[in-house]
Subunit: 467 residues, 2 copies
């Protein structure tokens, strides 16, 4: 509320009765209008960037997440300085939005820095809620039954697609680039997860969702997502304890497994009670609020047992996907995800300083070499997975390998978390983002090439599954 | 992210290369996991309270907003101390959620207060975004064409329903209770607005939406909403400049009118361009993101020209209600409003210290007397409006009067804003909330009484309009 903080002090003389309370309100709420203005302006910039980025990406037949990321890099510290954060070492005066606020409201420098800090805090929490809601939605889209159908091939592809890029990436970074163990493991982990969203959308656009190759890719991508989250939890907890402790790795794998499997086992019971509760509720938000409460409780619990908030949110989605309220919930979560998730992708892009990849600056060349190395490992490590498929003589192994190449959400989560915690440095973070951008960019055209001339032309039914 | 802040300092020895960056991240992100945990726990409490409150209210055939408000008072400073704010003069140690966080994460007292401040900041901004989205949705539900049909009777009822309670309330508070002018005007203004949501829902439940009385009530409630927002803007700006300045009142009425009428006049043009833009967008969120960008821009502009963010959001809703994307937008905004709006109502309830209305404490008796006075004025001031209707000889004047009685969203907005800015003191704020609760509570049974035995039984068509 614009005016809450700007009550003139002569009000104190007019209403002595209220002076104490007014003083408290003035102290506490002085920055409130500027903070709300800053948040509104930041969200306007973030949403404009995300929509323009997504539409430009769509125009070039690329996934919209790619456009949001690039648009974030454009409005962020790499270029326009509209969306910047204090934890990158920036002062309030370096934010164009804060400069604009100062222009229209005449803030003094101290207030300006406080407003900058508070506004950044709010946007950061909104971005964190964004990734929690994203993983909740990915959980809702993942399907245990689909997983069982594609069976053992999908599991083998997923495991190879996690192990090979992780081993090649981590080993290569340590041996070739002398990167310390934990950032190398972090970067290696960022190479593991296939983007279920991007892959399934591309397959649908090519009309190949129902092919054997398509089924294996989707199944493997789903398992990959879960493995990627476990790897993320393991790596994150490694970073937390500060050293590689085998017992804590085992503890984490067990607690991640117990948490995931336990949640899925109680899903059958929970299915009934969730539907019973939802059916009894008669007021607005009868489905979406209980679902969000469940997601936030699971996110908090996962955090409390030293896993990740996003793992809890993903599991909550997986559990609710088993309930009869699934289809309705899918529809209701979409606009909420549309509102929250872009904040995450745009701020991840905005935090990435692409300037460190400028080859004209000598100190950047190591980062560029790392980026080239990561891209190669990312492609080779996933292409190989096509050749581990067994018992399918005539299968298009190249198509499966290419289908596993696009990284996405989880890769970016690694980059964002690694950077926010200071585990990975800027060149390595930017190299990971470049890797995600390139693997995501190359997937659609190369997947089309790998499938060759269509022996199974797209039908209306498969086209309709395009999101 | 739970672990971002808890990187041990011995990491600095292991990775000297990262030490500077790690130090920055540690300083900046030290509280981040605790803040996210605090926000998650606060949202879980707020959503549980809102849902339980809404369902209990529904069980007693009362509007759900009433239940959310009462539930907020229960989890707030009046009782459970789960949702408390530093601007009420509370320290972090008085928040049960912060105490719980300390129990599981061992925060030191300084960190605890910082986490409490930051978490409260985030929840406050979410509540402000909640009221912005609420007024955007009310704008979407309001309909200029419906307004024109019910015509002059609705305008007369609305104007009388604003003028009489405002004059009686403000005058009475100043003359009988010696309340200073600005808080008296604030409380008087809080008496003006009829709740369009509550009134239309009650009429639908009684099957009286299509009756002449129903049409007049709905039309008057819509005009009332707009008048209430203009009154709010005027009163808010009066509070801002600190004195009653006729020129600034005229400026505000003109700028409010120009802003509203100007926005509505360009709606015809905007209708076309908004639909053209939405039709061209091919990525997810193609309707909801442009609509939210428009609402946030209008909210920011209204703020910038010294009106209210909520007036901008309401106008944005009114304009978009004229577009062809209306119905789809209505559906998409619902889950978003379901998620954001309860944060506003629950925190309004949580901030209200109902303890000041305890008659056992002598200093409270003035506040209780004010509450009784406000309730009487609120009822009498609206009942009168039934008798200003002209040219409708056989009309049920009592029903129209009773239909205008329920206050709601806008009344609570006044209470929340007045309290946050320190313009009104706690007894007056609580008196306003008691007034809103009682007028809202009495509407459904008394409206049923006023309509008497149904001469026009509810039909399936009118029942279907129940939200």
């Amino acid at each position: 509320m614009n005016w809450t903080g700007s009550i003139d002090y002569h009000l104190l003389e007019i209403f002595p009765f209220f002076s104490h309370q007014l003083f408290l309100a003035t102290v506490a709420a002085d920055d409130a209008p500027a903070i709300l203005n800053g948040v509104l302006l930041s969200l306007i910039v973030i949403y404009l960037a995300s929509k323009i980025g997504a539409e430009v990406a769509k125009y070039f037949e690329q996934p919209s997440v790619l456009g949001e990321l690039v648009a974030g890099a454009i409005v962020g510290i790499s270029a326009l300085h509209l969306v910047v954060f204090p934890d990158s070492g920036f002062a309030g005066s370096s934010s164009v939005i804060i400069q604009f606020l100062q222009l229209i409201t005449n803030l003094d420098p101290t207030t300006l820095d406080r407003v900058f800090a508070a506004q950044s805090e709010v946007i950061s929490v909104l971005a964190e809620l964004g990734v929690i809601i994203l993983l909740f939605e990915i959980g809702l889209e993942s399907d245990l039954r689909q997983l069982k159908q594609v069976g053992s091939q999908a599991i083998v592809v997923a495991c190879a697609g996690v192990a090979v890029p992780f081993a090649l990436g981590t080993g290569g970074l340590m041996l070739l680039f002398n990167v310390p163990a934990i950032p190398a493991i972090f970067a290696g982990a960022a190479l593991t997860a296939t983007s279920i969203g991007i892959t399934s959308k591309v397959l649908a656009e090519l009309g190949r969702l129902q092919s054997t190759e398509g089924q294996i890719i989707i199944g493997a991508a789903i398992i990959d997502d879960i493995l990627g989250i476990i790897v993320l939890a393991v790596v994150a907890s490694l970073a937390k304890t500060g050293s590689i402790d085998v017992m804590s790795v085992i503890y984490l794998i067990i607690s991640a497994t117990v948490f995931l499997v336990g949640s899925i086992l109680i899903a059958g019971f929970f299915n009934q009670s969730f539907v019973t509760i939802v059916d009894r509720l008669k007021t607005r938000g009868n489905i979406v609020i209980p679902a969000i409460i469940f997601a936030f409780i699971m996110a908090f619990l996962a955090n409390a047992i030293h896993l990740e908030a996003i793992l809890g949110a993903f599991t909550a989605g997986l559990v609710l996907d088993e309930t009869d309220a699934r289809n309705e919930l899918d529809e209701l979560i979409k606009p909420i995800a549309d509102l929250f998730v872009p904040i995450f992708f745009v701020t991840v892009g905005a935090r990435a300083d692409l300037g460190v990849l400028n080859p004209a600056i000598e100190s950047n060349r190591a980062g560029l070499l790392i980026a080239i190395f990561l891209v190669l490992v990312a492609i080779v490590g996933k292409l190989i997975t096509g050749w581990v498929v067994f018992g399918q003589p005539g299968i298009n192994r190249m198509a499966i390998g290419v289908g596993m190449v696009p990284r996405g959400e989880v890769g970016l989560v690694f980059a964002g978390i690694g950077s926010a915690s200071g585990i990975i440095d800027k060149p390595l973070e930017s190299a990971i983002i470049i890797m995600v951008i390139i693997t995501t960019l190359m997937a659609p055209p190369f997947l089309r090439l790998a499938f060759g001339k269509s022996d199974e032309p797209p039908t209306a039914a498969t086209e309709a599954t395009i999101d």
